[in-house]
Subunit: 129 residues, 4 copies
DNA sequence: GTGGTCTAGACCACG
DNA sequence: GTGGTCTAGACCACC
């Protein structure tokens, strides 16, 4: 998995890291049960502070995407059950994105085609919990 | 249009404001050509500083969602042409959202149904440029 | 002479008006000695307040581009002698424009070609004082 | 780099700041990759509010003249590619300036000499992107 | 009356 | 320590 950070972005580095790891898992570049690099290693590879990576891992853990074991480091979790909290967040995001797409002139069928295309890039074989 | 702000969120108020106005326009609660509240009025209604509202309006203007006329205040713009820059942003967002949905156990069919439902809530009669 | 105003521009209307009239005189669309429309007429044509047009005319008069006679209205002045004040303003503007052009990757010869082209569009027969 | 502000000018301070920094970069007083003063420091030096400087930096960033890195503050960007938007802005400015120059009695030859002189003061060794 | 600008000072997020 | 955000209140430019 290659990490690409934009240091001059307004998006905080730990969020960029978190997003790329989530996308990587979704795509299947990181498989369920696979170990993530250690905080220190990823910090070196990505050229950032260990505190930043640590913050990213803590967030991923809180979100249920990874498990952290003091002895074995971090590893990818299986697919979780849909939580109400997540569902609400997703709906809010989709509503905003839909509004923007509509106002930017993207027709419904083109929008849905894009949604399907993007979801289709995800790994269908990701292991269940 | 009712504005609902979360003062304890890490999302800046001016972004929350921006998002709610975009959603409002998308839904058709604010029609094309309709005037937005004055900076001062919205500041009072939302309980925030005028500069915060001003920043929101400037962003909406830069994004092409509203026009600001020195004489009459701000009003909603017609639908714009799809820009490459926006398209890229949309694709990035959908990729991340898809990954999250996949990992949270949302099946493709359900995801697409939700996308369609959300886009369907947008106003289909929004005037074109 | 056709006046094109952008009401949603950040440039004040009276400045837009002033700039377009100066450009019009430069190009020869308005000849030396020719009468400008009355304040009232231009206000109607351009769809703006008479105060705005009045302000524009006062500025043009102060800059020496037009003369205002209470009985005959405003008319275009002949070419003026170079003032130090104007010279300084021009140099400042050109310095800034040159810096921007340089940093935007415009080569010296292309920049000068553009300068020549633009000056070349001006009317060479404009009457002297 | 010395900043010279005219507090009684109608040109907003943040624009004056922006213009002087652009000119400074063009002249080579600020080199590509060099760090700009921190927002706070420049605010103190120039005797203005930090928000004013912040606004200036945000504009310079949006225009592509500088990059802002959360870790290291702001630094000068390499030369960018010519955009159509900038090209149009430049042409408009040059047309107006040419008209003024013509009407103020500046002959073509003298005008072009001045353009060349000003562009010539820019740093020819500015690094490319 | 409208938006645009600015200040002084505060607090927070980030790394 | 850096930039980002926000406030409360003021003044100005514009129309």
């Amino acid at each position: 998995m290659i990490i690409q950070l934009d240091m001059s972005s307004t998006t905080p580095i730990y969020v960029q890291l978190r997003n790329q790891i989530v996308t990587g898992i979704g795509r299947g570049e990181l498989k369920v049960g696979e170990r993530l690099p250690t905080v220190r290693q990823l910090a070196i590879d990505a050229g950032v502070n260990t505190m930043t990576v640590n913050k990213t891992y803590q967030i991923l853990r809180a979100e249920g995407f990874i498990e952290i074991d003091r002895r074995n480091g971090a590893k990818v979790c299986p697919i979780q059950d849909l939580s109400n909290q997540y569902r609400e967040k997703l709906e809010d995001e989709l509503e905003l994105i839909s509004a923007e797409a509509r106002l930017k002139g993207l027709e419904k069928e083109d929008f849905l085609k894009l949604c399907e295309e993007k979801y289709g890039q995800m790994n269908p074989d990701t292991q269940l919990a």
